[in-house]
Symmetry: C2
Subunit: 357 residues, 2 copies
């Protein structure tokens, strides 16, 4: 389809610096039947291994035109994939992008989508080497595939947690879910399509909306932690803390015990929950789309790892530990005094049921 080629050239042609492409081993980029890439020079050469992941965002399922602007969708579609590479302890390298655009869209909207995508690519040094832009009868669908590299044998799966390991996250959780909650309410009030960030700023929820629209995957933290050799499992929080902890528990055959008092409650999230009558713990456990990392690390290295990340300005919160026992997730309710304080609750396996429940 010639229109497609013309469009792809317009939005993707020579948008990235040749230094970035060279650094990522791109021999031939967008424009032929397939891209040609080789192991990047900084990736331990032929001894490195490749990571491959795919993630899809569908309008009305994962977002709508009130919750996300086009550039947000582009950013987040790539960020979700970058986060998958981080969750294996790797370095993101290349991306291939499939965009199915509603026929009614004006070209400027597609342009903004690619702007967001390339902004995220530049942020993480990802070379976009493939694209397929098709029309869609009704809804926007963005599917992104990424490659990454990792030192041979060093990929961190979900399966290595052992009893006694410390459980950590690399950032607050629940903020994205809180941001979505606010966005849906704002959309109901007719705040706009997309709901403007200024409305969130006026309402003190801008940081929550940003967490939802422009997640920032923990690539650097993952690389630093993986290099220590004490990381035993790693997962990214795409479907909520509960679901991700369950995945590690089941893959590793351990019980994951979280302490409510140690969970990183964001002040903005807590304040908004208070105002809106919501339970912030619900967003933390089941909100999803935070794209921070949840992992386990040998207990004896946990404090040193946290200090090393802090020295680089990167957060790390120890939120519990892995224990022997049936695979499962429990939460110790030790945050507030009063009746039932300190009791242990089993956390259900349910995850994030996407946008509309």
């Amino acid at each position: 389809m010639l229109d497609e080629f013309a469009r792809i050239r317009l939005w993707t042609g020579e948008r990235q610096r040749s230094a970035l492409l060279r650094q990522q081993g791109v021999v031939l980029g967008i424009g032929d039947d397939a891209a040609v890439v080789e192991m990047p020079p900084d990736a331990a050469g032929g001894a490195a291994q490749w990571l491959l992941a795919v993630d899809t965002m569908v309008e009305t399922v994962h977002f709508n035109d009130a919750t996300m602007g086009e550039a947000d969708v582009g950013w987040k579609a790539l960020a979700a994939n970058v986060s998958d590479i981080a969750a294996m302890g790797g370095v993101p390298r290349h991306a291939l992008v499939s965009v199915s655009v509603p026929k009614k869209w004006e070209p400027a909207r597609i342009g903004r989508l690619y702007d967001g995508l390339y902004a995220c690519a530049d942020q993480y040094g990802v070379a976009i080497v493939g694209g397929d832009t098709t029309s869609s009868p009704a809804h926007l669908v963005v599917a992104v595939t990424v490659t990454g590299t990792v030192e041979a044998g060093a990929a961190i799966s979900r399966a290595g947690a052992a009893p006694g390991d410390a459980v950590f996250v690399t950032g607050p959780v629940g903020m994205s879910g809180a941001g979505l909650h606010w966005l849906l309410a704002a959309a109901m009030r007719g705040a706009g399509h997309p709901v403007p960030l200024a409305a969130a700023e006026a309402d003190g929820t801008a940081v929550l909306v940003a967490a939802h629209r422009r997640p920032v995957p923990s690539v650097r933290a993952a690389r630093m932690l993986a290099a220590r050799g004490t990381l035993t499992s790693l997962n990214d929080v795409s479907d909520g803390l509960a679901s991700e902890a369950w995945e590690i528990a089941e893959a590793s055959g351990v019980s994951i015990v979280l302490r409510e008092s140690q969970l990183p409650y964001s002040g903005s999230m807590t304040a908004y929950a208070h105002r809106s009558g919501a339970d912030p713990l619900e967003w933390m456990l089941y909100g999803g789309e935070d794209y921070v990392l949840l992992g386990t690390i040998r207990q004896e290295d946990a404090d040193a790892a946290k200090a090393a990340l802090a020295a680089e300005g990167l957060p790390m919160y120890i939120i519990g530990e892995a224990a022997a026992g049936d695979a499962g997730v429990a939460l110790i309710r030790d945050r507030q005094a009063g009746g039932g304080a300190g009791r242990r609750e089993a956390i259900a396996k349910r995850g994030y049921n996407h946008f509309n429940g």
Copy 2:
């Protein structure tokens, strides 16, 4: 989303032989944040390069529920990508699959889609290492990304054709377009959803329908030709002979001159065109989705290459030659005697405008 994980496990869990996965360098397959792969042992080790391509099929844009069954969609979505790897002279290795499934679909339909996908994967030895199954508000969208390998520096782009080179295709073209033509007419007659193959068999068009629904990419032919060292450009016929020839002409800076008398007219296509009052040349030039290869090869090796492929039962048709001059495509009308026979016509650059025109 737990439902998603359960579904993916059901449709993709341990469906491929471990020997295939090992042969393709799969260290960790579907089930974690990302797959881990290494250069396959038979791929010239670290000296090989990787090929990456993505292709998307959208219901109502590329197919509908009359023209294609679910298994056909699965097959063709992967085959189109395998063809992109073939068109670079490479070997397909891995695939990652994004499927957005209409909410109204029964699970059995999704199962059939994956059946077709895995059938194609097995046919070409492709390891499926990633999947993302999401729901879609209305229409099926399938986006597939493939990896392949090629000897370092040996990828065949569109840009190497030189004046004097022979132009060839690795199979008949236009059959898929003819098959689509018949399917749309059959759907109008209410022949079923999907139109059953038996109806095509009764009508003598089964081979055309099969060409449309189950294309067979020319991986072996591409590998044999690339190994000769005389191949100068290569493209797969996804958008019709005219569009693909234009791409080579523009990328290489040559004029491509095709001879109508040398084009591979399939007997079934010609017979159906005659019956339906259609012009078979239109399907050949602009039909698309044939997924055979169009390329150029040094003139002095053309006959020997053709003989070598024939010895393996693989077709190759010399259909014209590259010439000096402005980038463009011309057709010499030398197939039929009579007025205007032998005249040279410029071939427009338009390509396949997808399903609904």
